[in-house]
């Protein structure tokens, strides 16, 4: 049986503890041999580090792969940014002998093993390919019967739309979520864009997505990527502050942004308080919870 090491990344442990707890609950509920990958540093952010210093990106990312090698686990990411960093690094190490040697030498310098046998999986791959949709369906105690828009995130399209985006949709549907397609489904969250063009990143990315969800009367917007959530969180705080200054009701800020693992936990019969669903949210989940209690 595979042993999985969950890579927390930077955002989840400090901004989305409810998602972290839900992931751990769901993984155990599905019978996975699933624990934290311990001692991890930043993934390291490909959008920032790759253009700044490619070799540094490769080596620092390999550090986390080396931890997985040491702890003898399959590295699992639910953040698309972390996953793409680990996935692409592993590919480069396998295909480029020069880079392999370079990384091996740096890792040796700090007493870490070269990640020779490591496997990297997206959490969606673990759920869909390793667990299977049928088993997930069997674990559903109550269908959620909710309507939602979803934001899968750019890097999840790396393997094509028929892999991770499809897994995401099919799992959502298995939980009883009716997906509302939007014209903005393939639009980036704007996380990195914020560094160069903050206005476009907030108003023409997150606000558009959440306003559309509000207009469609979606119960929530579903996502899986912590990097994207970081951007949603920042944008919503900015939008709320602006709207409050004008005494307006912030439309975009009333749509709950919910992680897939939370929905799975709820459908499996866990209570919101089992994973602290109401704490530290960028958008309130009260209305969503009231609706769930009503069904």
């Amino acid at each position: 049986m595979k042993r999985y090491g969950y890579f927390l990344g930077c955002v989840m442990p400090v901004k989305m503890p409810w998602a972290e707890k839900a992931v751990m609950l769901v993984a155990k509920h599905l019978g996975l041999h699933f624990d934290y990958l311990r001692g991890t540093t930043c993934c390291i952010r490909p959008g920032v580090w790759k253009p700044l210093d490619y070799d540094a990106w490769l080596t620092l990312t390999s550090y986390n792969l080396a931890l997985a090698e040491e702890q003898e686990v399959v590295l699992v990411d639910s953040c698309n940014g972390c996953w793409i960093s680990h996935y692409e690094t592993l590919q480069e190490l396998r295909e480029n002998s020069e880079k392999r040697e370079m990384v091996a030498s740096y890792l040796k310098g700090i007493g870490k093993p070269f990640p020779e046998h490591v496997e990297v999986r997206h959490f969606l791959q673990v759920l869909y390919e390793d667990v299977g949709l049928e088993k997930i369906k069997r674990k559903v105690k109550r269908k959620l019967n909710l309507r939602a828009t979803r934001h899968i995130g750019c890097h999840a399209r790396k393997l094509g739309d028929d892999v991770l985006p499809r897994y995401f949709d099919e799992i959502l549907e298995a939980l009883g979520v009716e997906i509302i397609d939007t014209p903005y489904d393939k639009m980036c969250c704007g996380l990195l864009l914020f560094l160069a063009d903050p206005e476009r990143s907030v108003y023409e990315r997150v606000e558009r997505k959440l306003n559309y969800a509000y207009e469609q009367e979606a119960d929530f917007c579903a996502l899986i990527c912590s990097g994207c959530y970081d951007q949603f969180d920042r944008a919503v705080r900015i939008l709320r502050k602006e709207a409050e200054a004008k005494g307006e009701l912030p439309k975009a800020c009333s749509v709950p942004v919910v992680h897939l693992a939370e929905l799975m936990a709820l459908a499996f019969g866990y209570k919101p308080e089992d994973f602290g669903m109401q704490h530290l949210r960028c958008t309130p989940v009260d209305r969503l919870l009231a609706k769930l209690q009503g069904c």
Partner: protein
Amino acid sequence: MSERASGAKLHWLRLLKAAERLTKTKLSEEIQVHPWRRPLPSEAPPPAKPALARDYEVGLVYPVTDEAIEARAACGLPKIPPTAHLYRDSVYEKRRLLEALGVLKRFQFNGIERRFKY
């Protein structure tokens, strides 16, 4: 757009202010002392500087704040996540890698002062 833009722009400007606080030498002052010298901008982009400095400090982009500790406990999680926040050896190993890779020199980042020179 221009009226509504202020919130996002202000947030971004705060990032630049934080970057300025992390930077020892101001190029505008430097150029007055050495007018003929070619400016020496840092290879670290200013809006990314605060995150890069935290990367060095804690090994990750975000520190664990009191608010996060409280929320983690409320969610039934250990107060400090089992990342480099808890395993400090990882931070020191990462710093050794940054040093060996020449990244600190390229970014003109002084690990003792925790500031960028430019």
